[in-house]
């Protein structure tokens, strides 16, 4: 799994590439720690290049979202498709989080 961070105004856009499974999900926890340390509490997660996510990935996302919310921030999502989108739908994450089609819409929203 790879992360590409781009600062856009007061938001940090984080593009996640690869597979987010039980083996790699802890890397997301580490990224979240970095965001909070650098004061980046509005995070737009770009999932357009994420090939795969399991419940271990959902667990890391939820833990990160709780931490960001605790720091008066938020986590938004964009670019979901295929199985990643289905996993978000089945788990209720699609209803729980703000989901946008594109990064631009997420930044405007």
């Amino acid at each position: 799994m790879e992360f590409t961070n781009t600062k856009n105004g007061n938001a940090l856009v984080v593009k996640v590439t690869g597979r987010m499974d039980a083996i790699t999900a802890p890397e997301f926890d580490g990224q979240c720690k970095n965001w909070i340390e650098t004061g980046d509490t509005k995070v737009v997660v770009d999932l357009s290049e994420l090939e795969y996510i399991s419940s271990a990935g959902l667990r890391s996302i939820l833990a990160a979202a709780k931490k960001l919310k605790g720091a008066k921030g938020e986590m938004l999502f964009a670019g979901l498709s295929g199985m990643v989108e289905e996993v978000f739908n089945v788990s209720g994450f699609a209803a729980m989080f703000s989901i946008y089609k594109t990064i631009d819409e997420a930044l405007a929203g």
Partner: protein, 139 residues
């Protein structure tokens, strides 16, 4: 009938994944079923790795078969996983509340929800000292 046997831990995920996806590939199964198998396999393996055995660990066996259905053009991908850990029926666990908001959401518990939603049929039996979980996918 090919079977793979491996340690019931996360390190076995890549080798079991290769086996399962290869059975699907050999049967020329494409579309949405292979990504479903990929995900469901991880969820059930993680479950056994976390809960079935004590600190000494144990083994897990997976057998995949593709079944022709005589009365139609469709086929069924049958995924069977066996372990010799404590008696546990994953189909009888409480499902998490998927309508709770971020504050009230419990972390975890979503794996088996994904399994039971994505598989077309799920069966569990305890056979002697063995847990047998069988998942069926319409191809």
């Amino acid at each position: 009938m090919p079977t793979i046997r491996a340690k019931a831990n996360l390190e076995s995920l890549p080798v079991i994944r290769d086996y399962v996806l290869n059975v699907a590939h050999q049967a020329k199964i494409t579309g949405e079923v292979p990504p479903k198998l990929d995900l469901v396999l991880e969820e059930v393996l993680v479950n056994v790795a976390s809960h079935a055995y004590g600190p000494d660990g144990g083994d897990v066996e997976v057998t995949c078969t593709v079944i022709d259905t005589p009365d139609s053009d469709s086929r069924i991908f049958r995924f069977e996983m066996r372990d010799w850990g404590s008696h546990f029926n994953p189909l009888k666990t409480d499902m998490p509340d998927t309508t709770a908001d971020i504050d009230d959401r419990q972390i975890g518990g979503l794996g088996l929800l994904l399994v039971t939603t994505l598989a077309d049929k799920c069966e569990y039996t305890r056979q002697g000292d063995m847990n047998v979980l069988t998942l069926f996918f319409n191809v």
